[in-house]
Structures are given as structure tokens and as C-alpha cells.
């Protein structure tokens, strides 16, 4: 798989996650975050199991163990994020979340893999873009909320690095399926502790079931398979640099379908637009295969010279 193919995979995952808001509005209010996680992940896991049942006998102890680690990390990410977002303003939370573009390269240095020059330049641009979009104010970072968001960021960075390692060794498809099954199981346990028997008390209307199904397919089943394949062929730093485009996609979607994002005036401003442009530039600098582009230009010049 070529680098641009891989970038397309990761971008589609980010797009799915960023556009989840559009589908979430179809869910009932009494469905808690744990309930949401339990239903989404279980449904996605069951769907994938039904679809790829012939591959399931290949699941071994290693895949089970790796999937459990990934599921645990992802659940921690979601828990930390939930707590952090409740305690922080959206701009502060968004800024802290974007720190994974710094943490992942640091983790990679521990694994003796240094970021390339274009990745470093890209990171600087993206951070500048995030700062411009969200602004800086020391008051916007109360300790508890900041710690939760940093925990979210560290766990997400760990997830990116670890899943990249696991995907080299295991079948990405099975890793995605078993991981979703574990996440569903963890979600079910937590949901049952939080509100016992709620799963049976919910009103399963056609609209709710449709939203549930679509969310399970796109934001879970589809997104996790694509993410695992993207991790298998990609570099963790490139992955987070593409994920850094999420605020840009959200801004674009809020302009396209304002009613699903609480009105365009909530998200759009001139500084947000400038910040988004800088983030896009940073991501392009980091992710385009400049060496190949240079070689193409050189070979084209040479062939023109011959003519």
C-alpha cells in the first residue's frame, strides 16, 4: 500500500468520527455514554463477526491479548475524554487533545524512531493552527480537567503507537473485530453498573435503531477496520498528523450542515478559518511524499530536455 493510499484510509476514519455528531442526534437522551459505547461496539462486533465468521477460527491468544490491551486503552481514552470535556471549555479541551501530535513522536523516539524533518515542520504548523483557532488563556485550564484531558491524550498516543506495532504482527481485521467485542463487553459491564437493566427499558424506535445501526457500521465497524489497516501500513506520527485535521473537518461540516453542529456561528470565525488553513498546510507538509514529487518533477524535466 502506497503512502497516499494509507493517508486516504486514515482520513476516512477521521471523517467518520468527526461526522458522528450528525447521527448522534437520532439517539434518545436517556442513553448514557456507557450505554452508547456498549450498544455501538457490541453491534459493530456482532456485525463483523457475522460477516467474517470464516476468519474467526484464526483468533489466537496473541490476538486476544493484543485486542484486550487496545480495547482497554480506547476505553480509557473515552472515559478521560468524557471527564475532561465536562470540566473544560471546548477550546481548552480541543487544544489539549491535539497534544498527541507531540506525544506520539516522543514515544517513537523512545522506540528509536525519530520523526522526519517534514513531520517536525508539520507538527509546528499544526500546533500554531490549533493555538490560533482556540486562543490561549491560563484561566481555561483547571487542574482536574487538564489532567483528565492529558490522560486522554497520553492513552490515545499509546493506542496509536501500540496498535501500529500489533498490526504488523496480527491480522488487522481480526484485531479490529476482537477489539470491538472487548470494548462492547467493557461498555456493557460499566453500563450495567451505572444503570442496571437499562438495556431492556430503552424504547427501540425505528429511528433509534437506524441511528444505532448507522453509527455502529460507520463509526465503529468501518472506522476500526480502516484504522487497523491504516496502522499496519502507516507510520504512527503520520496517523496523528492526519487526525489533527479533525477540527478542520468539523468546521467544514458545521458550514455544510449547521443544524447538526449547533449552528455555524458557534464554530465559524475568521480566526478559526485561518487556524484551519494553517493546520491543513501543516498536515500537507508532513504527509505529502515530497521526495516522490521532487523525483517526478526531475524526471519530467529530464524527459522534456531530451525532447
Amino acid at each position: 500500500m502506497r503512502k497516499f493510499e494509507n493517508n486516504i484510509l486514515i482520513f476516512s476514519v477521521m471523517l467518520c468520527w468527526a461526522s458522528a455528531y450528525v447521527f448522534i442526534k437520532g439517539l434518545p437522551e436517556e442513553l448514557s455514554d456507557f450505554g452508547y459505547l456498549a450498544l455501538m461496539n457490541s453491534m459493530a462486533a456482532l456485525l463483523l463477526m457475522a460477516l467474517f465468521w470464516q476468519r474467526l477460527p484464526s483468533v489466537n491468544k496473541q490476538i486476544l491479548f493484543h485486542s484486550l490491551i487496545l480495547a482497554g486503552l480506547m476505553t480509557l481514552v473515552l472515559l478521560f475524554e468524557k471527564e475532561g470535556v465536562e470540566r473544560l471549555a471546548p477550546a481548552s479541551a480541543s487544544m489539549l487533545t491535539s497534544l498527541d501530535i507531540v506525544i506520539v513522536p516522543v514515544f517513537m523516539i523512545f522506540l528509536r524512531k525519530f520523526p522526519t524533518r517534514q513531520q517536525v515542520i508539520g507538527i509546528v504548523f499544526i500546533l500554531a493552527g490549533v493555538l490560533i483557532t482556540n486562543g490561549v488563556s491560563a484561566d481555561g485550564f483547571p487542574l482536574a480537567g487538564t489532567l483528565f484531558m492529558l490522560g486522554d491524550c497520553v492513552c490515545m498516543s499509546l493506542y496509536t503507537v501500540v496498535s501500529n506495532r500489533f498490526c504488523q504482527k496480527d491480522d488487522p481485521l481480526l484485531l479490529a473485530v476482537v477489539q470491538l467485542a472487548f470494548m462492547g463487553l467493557i461498555g456493557m459491564i460499566a453500563w450495567n453498573i451505572e444503570s442496571p437493566g437499562m438495556i431492556f427499558r430503552l424504547q427501540y424506535t425505528r429511528s433509534f435503531l437506524s441511528s444505532l445501526f448507522v453509527l455502529a457500521i460507520f463509526t465503529k465497524a468501518y472506522a476500526y477496520i480502516m484504522l487497523m489497516y491504516g496502522e499496519k501500513y502507516g507510520d504512527p506520527v503520520d496517523v496523528v498528523l492526519i487526525f489533527a485535521l479533525e477540527p478542520v473537518v468539523t468546521l467544514f461540516l458545521s458550514m455544510l450542515i449547521p443544524e447538526s453542529f449547533g449552528g455555524v456561528e458557534e464554530t465559524f470565525s475568521m480566526t478559526a478559518l485561518i487556524g484551519a488553513i494553517i493546520i491543513v498546510i501543516g498536515s500537507c507538509i508532513a504527509n505529502l511524499d515530497w521526495q516522490e514529487i521532487r523525483e517526478r518533477i526531475r524526471s519530467r524535466r529530464q524527459s522534456d530536455g531530451k525532447i
Binding site: E5, L15, P172, Y229, I257
Partner: protein, 236 residues
């Protein structure tokens, strides 16, 4: 690594069921107020067509008809049947016209080819359904042409393309349908030229259908005649 091979029945079943299930889900959901026609299910025909060829065309056409039976079955469902067959079969025919390799986007040119075949088939579907409803059933629906075109162009790129990449990657290497046989004795050069004319013609028809209005009926009808001829020539 060995290629991932699916029997013809499974090819049909997978495409058909995916189309019906996803189509049914999005029929119930209103994603955007006033626009119930946002259909991510339209991501399926292009990659399915490139992988399974004629079988995918039939599966998508029948899948769409099946969804219509449970909600909106009208005389215009015939146009939907033909349109969804074109949505899967046209990319398959066009891909093999431009490339000797089995479908993949391992190079930048192949990516452009994917975009090109998606554009032409989206324009063809939009013309077949929206212009068809307008001219044959004398019912002009505002924005219908644009909505169909956007559904058939954007979703195969946003969701169809990543699936296509994974299934053509070294880990899966799905076995694609064989090169289609050309029933009409037209050379590759002639077909390529016809495709460009077809794309221009469909774009004009798309704009006319979007604008609607009595004044454009005659010109749209006249332009639809060569569009029908070119569709048949390119499909056979």
C-alpha cells in the same frame, strides 16, 4: 500471497445485502432537515462494480428495487433500477477501457482514473434518474439531479475508495471480475473519445435538469438522444 476469491453467488449476496440494509437504514433517518436523500449507501456501486462487474450491477439494481418495494415503489423505480445498474457497471467498463491492469489505485494515475470513472458514472446515474423523471414522467423535482450526482460522486470517494484500497492491498488482494468483452466493434481510441463527449454531454444535461423550466425541455430531450446512444455504446 494468494488472491481472495469469492464465488459469484456470494459476490451477488454481499453486494445485494449491503445495499438493502444500508439503504433501509438511511430511508428511516433524516440526516439533514429537508434532505432525506443523503445516501451513503451509494458508496457501494463503484467499488462493487470494479470488483464484481456485471454481477454487482445486477445486485445494486435489484437491491435498490427491493428497498423501493418497502417504501417508494413507483413507475420511476424502473429508472432507479437502470440507474443503479449503470452506477456499478459503467465504472467496470470504463476502468478496463483505460487500464490493462485489474482495478487498483497503487499509483497516482490510477487514483485519477478512479475519480474519472466515478464522475462519469455519477453523471450518468443523475441523468438517467433525474432527467428521466423530468422528461418521461413530466415531474421536475428541485435539486434532485444535484442530490443524485453528489450522492453518487461524493460517497464512492469518501467511503468506497478506502474500502477499495483495503481490498486491493497486499493483505487481501481480492480477485476482480475479468475484463469485459466489447460487443460493439469500436476501438479503444473511439471509446475513449466517446467517453469524453459523453461526460461533457451529461454535465450539460445535469445543469439543464438542475435549472429545470419549460424552456429547457426541448433542448434536454434533444441532448438526451445522443446520451442514450452513447450510454448503450459504452456499456456494450
Amino acid at each position: 500471497m494468494e488472491r481472495f476469491k469469492l464465488g459469484k453467488f456470494r459476490q451477488f449476496l454481499i453486494t445485494f445485502l449491503s445495499f438493502v440494509i444500508l439503504g433501509a437504514c438511511f430511508k428511516v433517518m433524516v440526516l439533514v432537515e429537508g434532505l432525506t436523500e443523503v445516501r451513503p449507501v451509494n458508496a457501494i456501486p463503484v467499488p462493487a462494480g470494479l470488483f464484481f462487474g456485471t454481477i454487482a450491477g445486477l445486485a445494486c439494481a435489484l437491491g435498490n428495487l427491493f428497498s423501493d418495494v418497502f417504501g417508494t415503489l413507483t413507475a420511476s423505480s424502473v429508472l432507479g433500477f437502470i440507474g443503479n445498474f449503470i452506477a456499478a457497471y459503467m465504472p467496470y467498463k470504463l476502468w478496463h477501457l483505460y487500464s490493462k491492469e485489474s482495478p487498483n489505485i497503487h499509483g497516482f494515475r490510477k487514483l485519477l482514473l478512479y475519480l474519472w470513472v466515478t464522475f462519469v458514472s455519477a453523471a450518468a446515474v443523475s441523468w438517467m434518474i433525474a432527467t428521466g423523471i423530468w422528461l418521461v414522467f413530466h415531474s421536475w423535482v428541485p435539486n434532485l439531479a444535484l442530490i443524485i450526482f453528489m450522492n453518487d460522486f461524493v460517497f464512492p470517494i469518501l467511503f468506497g475508495l478506502p474500502v477499495f484500497i483495503v481490498l486491493t492491498s497486499d493483505s487481501v488482494r481480492i480477485e476482480c471480475a475479468k475484463r469485459p468483452k466489447d460487443l460493439l466493434p469500436i476501438g479503444a481510441k473511439g471509446r475513449k473519445m466517446m467517453t469524453v463527449i459523453y461526460a461533457v454531454l451529461l454535465t450539460v444535461l445535469l445543469v439543464l435538469t438542475h435549472l429545470g423550466g419549460e424552456g429547457y425541455v426541448t433542448i434536454a430531450t434533444v441532448l438526451s438522444i445522443p446520451a442514450v446512444v452513447l450510454t448503450v455504446c459504452l456499456m456494450l
